[in-house]
């Protein structure tokens, strides 16, 4: 009885909190963004110091157009960033998934590795960039190691938590119906863990994007991170911002893609 009662009461309350009309965000939020861009542009035109230190939206747009028509920008810099990112991210996801399943599924493995994982995870990733630089030089390996080390732990920890959280009643039932361990893992534990795993992978994606840019800014001969660091040395602010826009948009697109895949798989 009470259940039906709350059920009839709740919807109006939630409906009340919903936005009245959807266009408001577009008008208000988009309006604020446009306003800020206009103020920035006007300030840059009025004052050459602003123009020098902050560039201007029109200059950034022009730089983006120049980038998109520049063959080397794509074949050298974007490619270098994409390669380092993809390799490091794949290593992190595959390694994190594998070890996470192992640690979530086998208590012995978990208890053996947990303190070690805790210790390594407590280290701020950025602190190891100078060390990796010393170890691996500033080539592809260095970038892959930085990206993988930054994005490994979200996948590992979420996968482990997800596998551990698998419904014990379901596991017991499947086991008593004679399912093998492998089957239990594939049909019960992993599907149960999928939402958490995807959340971890999504977090790892953000870390990986930051990681590749950071690694290339710190030390490299090409890549979007190099473009940014190089532009900073020459105080070409419009190039810093334009390259950042390219990274941000690519990251957002990848994130959307991953979100779509996650919705597909976890439904």
């Amino acid at each position: 009885m009470t259940a039906t009662l709350t059920r009839t009461i709740r919807p109006p309350a939630t409906i009340r909190r919903r936005r009245r009309f959807r266009g408001r965000k577009l008008v208000l939020g988009g309006g604020l963004l446009v306003l800020l861009l206009v103020v920035w542009e006007l300030a840059a035109r009025a004052n050459p110091h602003v123009q020098l230190l902050a560039s201007s939206p029109s200059e950034v747009a022009a730089t983006l157009v120049a980038f998109s028509g520049d063959g080397t920008f794509w074949s050298v810099h974007v490619l270098a960033t994409a390669e380092g990112f993809a390799a490091g991210f794949v290593v992190a996801v595959v390694g994190g998934l594998g070890l996470g399943v192992l640690m979530g599924w086998r208590r012995g493995v978990r208890e053996t590795l947990e303190p070690f994982v805790f210790v390594v995870n407590a280290v701020p990733g950025i602190a190891l960039i100078p060390l990796f630089m010393v170890w691996f030089g500033y080539g592809f390996t260095y970038q892959v190691v930085v990206v993988a080390s930054w994005s490994f732990f979200p996948v590992l920890l979420n996968t482990m938590a997800g596998v551990r959280a698998a419904d014990p009643a379901l596991l017991r039932m499947a086991r008593s119906f004679g399912a093998s361990t492998k089957r239990l893992l594939w049909t019960v534990a992993l599907p149960d863990a999928a939402p958490l795993v995807f959340a971890g992978v999504q977090q790892a994606l953000t870390h990986a994007v930051t990681g590749i840019v950071g690694a290339q800014m710190w030390a490299s001969a090409s890549g979007l991170g190099w473009v940014i660091a190089n532009a900073a040395m020459n105080i070409q602010v419009e190039q810093i911002i334009a390259a950042t826009v390219v990274v941000a948009v690519s990251g957002a697109l990848l994130n959307e893609l991953l979100g779509a895949v996650a919705r597909r798989w976890t439904r």
Partner: protein, 271 residues
């Protein structure tokens, strides 16, 4: 049971350390590049007994972190509250916030060097941008997670918006707010080291960088240990505060006024 766990976990850590030491001593790898546990312990001893390390570098990092983190909390909590509570405010700021949130902020670090040089204002901005989002987004989510039925009920009993906010919404959002503030500690610490590694004259990040360039790997690891200990200690401290203020239950609706004021005082304390 727990002994087995301790033996396994502790044993593995010891094995890793022993292997590392052996490798470094055997000459298979060059200890200049890998360091060794005994070397790291020695370097750590030198580091913590060096007054300059504390008075110049550790303090510079601490000040940069505290300045940026405090500002993130002071700006993030009220802004998150308003964005969670008022639809128009949320609609106004959300696109802007999300634009910056989805930008890899590390790419903007060189820009801040150009703008602010490499002193305290530079670190403050880098830390602020690293720490604001967990505070803001968690606070906003907390406010929005307030039980809609409770809000509707207290409204229909004639509570003013301020009363609803104080007695229903703030208590419900307190656990989220505290989680955000705690996450901001980790993000802020990473932020300050990022700032210092890329450009600084003092600080742990600067020291880290120096150690790497001079191939003083033992010292580098010692600084990493200091950073990791600081990060863990800060996180545990915040967890303690969190448990103190929210109690064992996640829902604090029944103790509303007290927890509500606690949320405000935690915001003002770090100012």
């Amino acid at each position: 049971m727990d002994t087995v766990r301790l033996l396994r976990g502790g044993g593995f850590l010891l094995v890793v350390l022993a292997l590392w030491e052996l490798l470094a001593r055997s000459g298979w790898v060059d200890p200049v590049f890998t360091g060794s546990p005994s070397g790291v312990v020695t370097a750590l001893g030198e580091l913590v007994s060096d007054p300059e390390f504390w008075s110049v570098h550790a303090s510079a990092t601490a000040v940069g972190f505290l300045a940026g983190w405090s500002l993130a909390v002071v700006v993030g909590l009220p802004l998150g509250l308003f964005m969670g509570w008022y639809g128009p405010v949320r609609d106004l700021f959300e696109p802007l916030v999300m634009t910056f949130y989805s930008t890899p902020r590390i790419a903007l670090v060189p820009l801040f060097v150009v703008w602010f040089g490499f002193g305290l204002p530079y670190k403050l901005v880098v830390v602020f941008l690293a720490a604001i989002f967990p505070v803001l987004l968690n606070m906003m989510a907390g406010v929005r997670s307030a039980d809609a039925a409770l809000v509707a009920m207290s409204r229909s009993f004639g509570a003013s918006p301020v009363t609803v906010l104080r007695t229903v919404v703030l208590p419900a959002s307190l656990p989220h707010a505290l989680t955000g503030v705690r996450q901001a500690v980790a993000h802020g610490l990473t932020g300050v080291v990022v700032g210092e590694v890329f450009s600084a004259g003092t600080g742990l990040g600067y020291e880290l960088n120096q150690a790497a360039q001079l191939f003083r790997t033992d010292r580098l690891f010692a600084i990493v240990v200091v950073l990791a200990v600081a990060a863990v200690a800060a996180n545990e401290g915040m967890l303690l505060v969190e448990r103190r203020l929210t109690g064992p239950r996640a829902s604090t609706a029944s103790r509303s006024p007290r927890s509500g004021s606690a949320a405000r005082s935690s915001a003002s304390r770090s100012a």
